[in-house]
């Protein structure tokens, strides 16, 4: 049992598990932090960005000034943004049988895997995961494709050149593996390989392994996975939450009795309380708007935005914001808002109850109806006519490198009346802002990450008691910036096994048993014998059938009737190869009873001699000598087969066959 670790990002995992005879990929997260090294892609020509000076090496050489630009002391690549893919060289990805997706954030690398590696297997995910994952990919592709960039920089990636660059470019890993965004045909091809599954659905893989998704409480349709055979159980926990937001609560009970629990996707901001952050978000938003400023919320088109809109729904009237327009701008804004309302079965209890009434589960339906929330596919078109300030804009991408958010950063960055509020935890807000410096706009950091924190993890582990825990190395030590916070790491016994990118772990368990089915007629023919109190045994001689990794024992066929004619019939295929069975024997032979039995069967001249280890029985007329010892019997006789068989049968009467 091996685990190949293809991603070093703890919340965007990509692991491959070799379990029994199957190869299972767990998630394929796409690390997008690489895009922070690139210049933003403006929708409208930005004079500021186009005038940024080229970067010049210390020795004055300028050969990189077309590729690299400098902004407020930071250096950026002036090119189409690129993403850091999961490791593709560690194992042959065409051998992957199935991919299990845990939530829509963890499938963003799927097209790279399914379309470029020779993958021919099946992907399993829940319906909301697929639908919302499609929206996230659509938005990503759209926001990159609609701003075609002539330049594709590659010179800086040269190892010799990269060495000369300033941090963080100098330290960026595997830059040669960075790839441009996929296209919509690739997305569609990848998504067509997905098979939809529901929570607690048992899916058989090749008859050898069973996988089951469980609710993980983090997002619509998000799941943890159980990978098990009859004897081994691996739990894969990825992006789980115990907070009550909109999704169905996490199923913890089913994680019990795991041999190995793989733990990924914990909160990225362990020190921030999500509830407190939502409060701060609302008050900062209200303050800015009251002062006549605009609020920009860089966000993904699904997920936390539903919760934020719900908070605002309750908050705007009491805060006197009823007349402030809220805009949600994304090519998939409408779809996201509509889709959120149709997944009743994947929602928390309260929201389900609303659907039963029947009312839309999310109050943003009402915000839209009352015109308080308006959504647009982009800043072009209707939006420019309706646009009124001051306002609140929700738009992507949270990295601030592409999407409509770039436009609003350029538009509102110069005024200190405006505020940008960061709620998504995936990108460092300081890094995200770097290419916009100097900036007058206020910046508020309210990261909302509802995933498990370390206190919840240790409670969970105590509860479900896995034999072994496997996790990314980041979780086994305190965060680098807070090395004294030993509470911000996983604490369990035995200590968690950690992994890092491009590592192969051997998982610590060994299989000892397999399931086999005994057919009823065979079971009927067995003769159990009680050997010890409560323990019975029966010897089984049967035909073993193995098909699709399932084993069945059947009654052996009756020996073929001796052919009536002398012609030899062809031996049919159904007759098993009969190798002569030599059962094991156990027990010891009581000499007195043995002698009595011999006499009963016509041996009249039996003599017994005692030896150091047992007895010797002599049959003088038959010229036979039988040595009886505790655990062995030795019969020395003449070449007389009937005699030998007779003696054998008499001896076997006293022994137990196995």
């Amino acid at each position: 049992f091996f685990q190949y670790c293809l991603s070093g990002h703890p919340t965007l995992p990509c692991n491959v598990l070799k379990f029994k005879s199957t190869t299972i990929m767990l998630d394929c997260g796409l690390d997008m932090t690489s895009t922070l090294n690139f210049l933003p892609l403006p929708l409208v020509q930005s004079p500021r960005l186009s005038k940024l000076p080229g970067w010049i090496l210390k020795d004055g050489s300028t050969f990189l000034d077309k590729e690299l630009k400098e902004c407020s002391g930071h250096v950026f690549v002036d090119s189409v943004p690129e993403f850091c893919l999961p490791e593709t060289e560690l194992l042959d990805l065409s051998t992957v049988d199935v991919i299990l997706i845990s939530n829509y954030h963890c499938m963003m690398a799927l097209p790279y895997i399914t379309e470029y590696t020779g993958f021919t297997g099946t992907v399993y995910a829940t319906e909301p995961t697929v639908q919302i994952g499609r929206l996230l990919m659509e938005e990503l592709v759209n926001s990159i494709e609609r701003v075609p960039k002539a330049q594709s920089a590659s010179m800086w990636k040269n190892k010799e050149v990269q060495r000369l660059l300033p941090a963080p470019l100098k330290d960026a890993v595997e830059v040669s593996m960075w790839r441009k965004c996929y296209t919509m045909p690739e997305v569609n091809a990848a998504l067509s390989k997905i098979q939809l599954v529901g929570y607690s659905q048992k899916i058989e893989l090749f008859g050898a392994v069973q996988v089951t998704p469980l609710s993980s409480g983090y997002a619509l349709g998000s799941s943890n996975w159980i990978i098990q055979s009859h004897y081994e159980k691996v739990s894969y926990v990825s992006g789980s939450s115990l907070l009550t937001t909109h999704p169905q609560p996490m199923d913890q009970a089913s994680l019990k009795n795991s041999d190995v629990l793989i733990l990924t996707g914990l909160t990225q901001i362990p020190t921030a309380n999500p509830d407190g952050m939502v409060g701060e978000f609302c008050s900062n938003l209200a303050m800015t708007v009251r002062n006549g400023g605009n609020v920009l919320v860089p966000c993904y088109p699904s997920g936390v935005i539903y919760d934020l809109l719900e908070c605002l729904y309750q908050y705007i009237d009491s805060a006197g914001l009823s007349n402030v327009p809220f805009y949600f701008i994304s090519p998939v804004a409408n779809s996201s808002l509509e889709f959120s309302q149709i997944f009743a079965e994947w929602l928390c209890h309260n929201k389900q109850t609303k659907v039963y009434l029947p009312e839309p589960p999310f109050p943003h339906a009402e915000l839209i109806q009352t015109n308080k929330l308006k959504h647009y596919p982009s800043i072009h078109g209707d939006f420019s006519n309706d646009f009124k300030q001051p306002c609140v804009v929700f738009t992507g991408h949270p990295s601030l490198r592409f999407g409509d958010v770039v436009h609003f950063m350029e538009l509102w960055g110069k005024s200190s009346l405006n505020t940008v509020i960061f709620t998504e935890p995936d990108f460092s807000y300081l890094d995200a802002l770097a290419p916009y410096q100097p900036l007058a706009m206020k910046c508020v950091y309210c990261p909302i990450d509802t995933r498990l924190n370390f206190i919840q993890v240790s409670k969970l582990l105590k509860e479900v008691q896995p034999l072994h825990v496997v996790c990314p190395e980041q979780y086994t030590q305190p965060p680098p910036t807070q090395s004294h916070r030993t509470d911000l790491m996983i604490d369990c016994q035995p200590p968690a096994m950690s992994y890092r990118r491009a590592e192969v772990l051997t998982l610590p368990y060994k299989r000892r048993y397999e399931k086999i089915e005994i057919m009823p007629d065979l079971a009927d023919s067995l003769v159990p014998l009680e050997i010890k109190p409560g323990i019975s045994l029966a010897t089984v001689s049967a035909v073993l059938h193995t098909k699709d990794n399932k084993h069945v024992l059947q009654l052996p066929p009756k020996p073929p009737q001796p052919p009536a004619s002398k012609k030899r019939k062809r031996v049919s295929d159904d007759v098993p190869e009969c190798k002569s069975l030599k059962p094991l024997l156990s027990g010891s032979i009581p000499v007195d009873q043995f002698v009595q039995t011999l006499e009963k069967h016509g041996f009249s001249d039996v003599k017994v001699e005692d030896t150091a280890k047992g007895h010797i029985v002599l049959l003088q007329e038959a010229e036979t000598l039988i040595q009886l010892e505790e655990d062995s019997t030795h019969i020395i006789c003449d070449n007389d087969e009937p005699l030998r068989v007779k003696l054998r049968d008499l001896v076997l009467k006293f022994l137990q066959k196995f």
């Binding site: 929570y199 389900q352 659907v355 089915e517 001689s541 069945v552 024992l553 059947q554």
Partner: protein, 536 residues
């Protein structure tokens, strides 16, 4: 020999009050709990005394499963759980859980408020009953207890309709509820995997019918409606609020749009708005096409179809009215029918099955003079049309499902005895499986032959599969092992391991024989020959 027992309390050689008791491996499950539309007395509910004469329902039953929200499948539920008394779990899908209480309340209102019956279940009882309901997802394996598990499959028929697999160990039963094997304008087709149950309990409403193509029926329907409206007549379509109504609405809506027709279409009040809302919120349960386009155009937002007001029935000029209930046995559809029946320009289209005893059934069987309340005779001059739009599988569909699931036995319910008999023969001929059709209260026993799962040591299994020069998967192999039985665990291990685990030593049995060989050759040559002979 282990057995599965099935006793229909309702729907045995009958349509109505579906309620089937199944005993499998010591577990008792009740499938559906419906009412009968043809009766107003005790016979409207299943006879639960069959169980209660021996004790409490909760003690006897491990769980109750409701296949879909039609009242002939869930109408007796509050009576069963609150008045007879059942506190165990009741399983149904999410849409069924959402819509079922509304239909029950509607049914209660008609019975108690309009007909003035007492001793019926109350609104509070419906609420208390629904609290015992556990909602299930499609394909989710629900562990009712340690041994009993159930799993829902998509059944088409109506929103949220499901087939259920009931499984204990390796014995299993599949109950289809009502299902539809052809996708329609708003729902998909029923689907099940090759789960090879010991018993398939299938509905058989259309056991002898093989329906012509859906397209033809739709064209026929539209032509009839169109012609009537053209000559100024009124069309009454009695429907149940949820299900066929939505399919026909989609059909008429698109037709009106295409033909640019002006005659008004009404939907009788009450559930309409709400019903459409359920379809919008549970759109994942509808068919592929509707699901794909719902963001751009929600098929359940109708432009041409408006809410009906009772006063409209007397308006002059043509109109189309969808009115509930579907069998013309009470309520608004019956009221409108009485008003319009006298005019030969008008038409009533019955789009579904009608239970015996209902006005719908009477007019469909050709009766044209009906005795109404107060001995009044109603003469029916309007045209009466029947068009099978109810989403049940026809004979072809039932055979198709049997082919999909590959059951070892089939049991028919929810149909008429004569038609069942025909289908039963067909099934036995084509699939060579036994087919049963018990009447209500009659128990069918099916012998099963479950195999016994045993743990085999991996060492033994590997040794046995590796034996032989070329491992040939197709050729069976004889293997030898020792089965250890301790408490309830069964383990198959190698004889050596069994000895070791039991703390027993092996007993060696050896033979030594003297053999005389006459051979003129030299001694070592003889030895060599003997050695080679033995080796060969």
């Amino acid at each position: 020999m282990p057995e599965i027992k099935v006793t229909p309390l309702g729907a045995g050689q009958d349509v109505g009050r579906s309620c089937i008791l199944v005993s499998i491996a010591g577990k008792n499950v009740m499938l559906d709990c419906g009412m009968h539309m043809g009766y107003n007395d005790d016979r409207r509910f299943p006879d639960f005394s069959y169980i209660t004469q021996n004790g409490r329902l909760t003690d006897f039953l491990d769980c109750v499963i409701i296949s879909h929200f039609h009242l002939d499948h869930c109408g007796a539920l509050p009576y069963f759980s609150e008045m007879v008394g059942y506190d165990g779990p009741i399983y149904m899908t999410h849409p069924t859980k959402a819509i079922c209480p509304i239909l029950l309340e509607d049914y209660r209102k008609i019975t108690v408020d309009k007909k003035g019956e007492t001793n019926f279940f109350t609104s509070q009882m419906i609420k208390d009953c629904m609290k015992k309901v556990v909602a299930v997802h499609l394909h989710q394996t629900v562990q009712v207890d340690e041994e009993l598990e159930i799993k829902a499959y998509y059944a088409g028929h109506v929103l949220g309709a499901a087939m259920f697999q009931i499984k204990v160990g390796c014995e299993s039963v599949v109950y289809t509820g009502d299902y539809n094997m052809t996708p329609d304008r708003h729902l998909g087709a029923a689907w099940i995997d090759k789960c090879r149950p010991d018993l398939l309990i299938s509905e058989s409403t259309y056991a002898t019918t093989i329906r012509d193509s859906k397209r033809c029926r739709e064209r026929d329907f539209l032509k009839k409606v169109h012609e009537t409206v053209e000559r100024g007549g009124k069309v009454l379509i009695p429907v149940f609020a949820l299900g066929r109504a939505q399919e026909l609405c989609i059909l008429l809506e698109t037709f009106w749009e295409r033909m640019n027709l002006k005659a008004p279409i009404y939907f009788s009040t009450g559930l309409t708005e709400k019903a459409n809302h359920y379809y919008k919120l549970f759109i994942t349960w509808t068919n592929q096409k509707i699901r794909k386009t719902f963001v751009q155009r929600n098929m359940f937002e109708f432009k041409h179809i408006k809410a009906f007001d009772r006063a409209f029935a007397d308006n002059p000029g043509p109109m189309v009215v969808f009115a509930t209930p579907g069998m013309l046995h009470a309520g608004q559809s019956l009221q409108i029918f009485r008003k319009w029946a006298g005019n030969e320009k008008n038409m009533v289209i019955m789009p579904g099955y009608c239970v015996q005893g209902t006005v719908g059934h009477k007019i469909l069987s050709g009766q044209r003079k009906l005795e109404m309340e107060g001995r009044q005779i109603l003469e029916v001059k309007m045209q009466v049309e029947y068009m099978s739009f109810s989403a049940h599988a026809d004979a072809k569909g039932i055979m198709q499902l049997i082919r999909q699931a590959e059951p070892r036995n089939v049991l028919l319910v929810h149909g008429e005895a004569k038609k069942m008999e025909f289908l039963k023969q067909k099934i036995e001929q084509e699939f060579h499986v036994s087919c049963f059709m018990p009447a209500n209260g009659e128990t069918t026993t099916i012998l099963t032959n479950p195999c016994i799962p045993v743990d085999i040591s991996l060492g033994l299994l590997k040794r046995e599969t590796a034996i032989g020069p070329v491992p040939d998967a197709k050729k069976p192999k004889l293997m030898h092992g020792t089965l250890l039985m301790k408490d309830n665990s069964f383990r198959l291990v190698s004889p050596e391991q069994a000895l070791k685990e039991l703390g027993l030593a092996e007993h060696q049995l050896r033979f030594t024989c003297r053999v005389h060989i006459q051979d003129p050759r030299k001694e070592h040559e003889t030895v060599l020959r003997v050695y080679n002979h033995l080796k060969g």
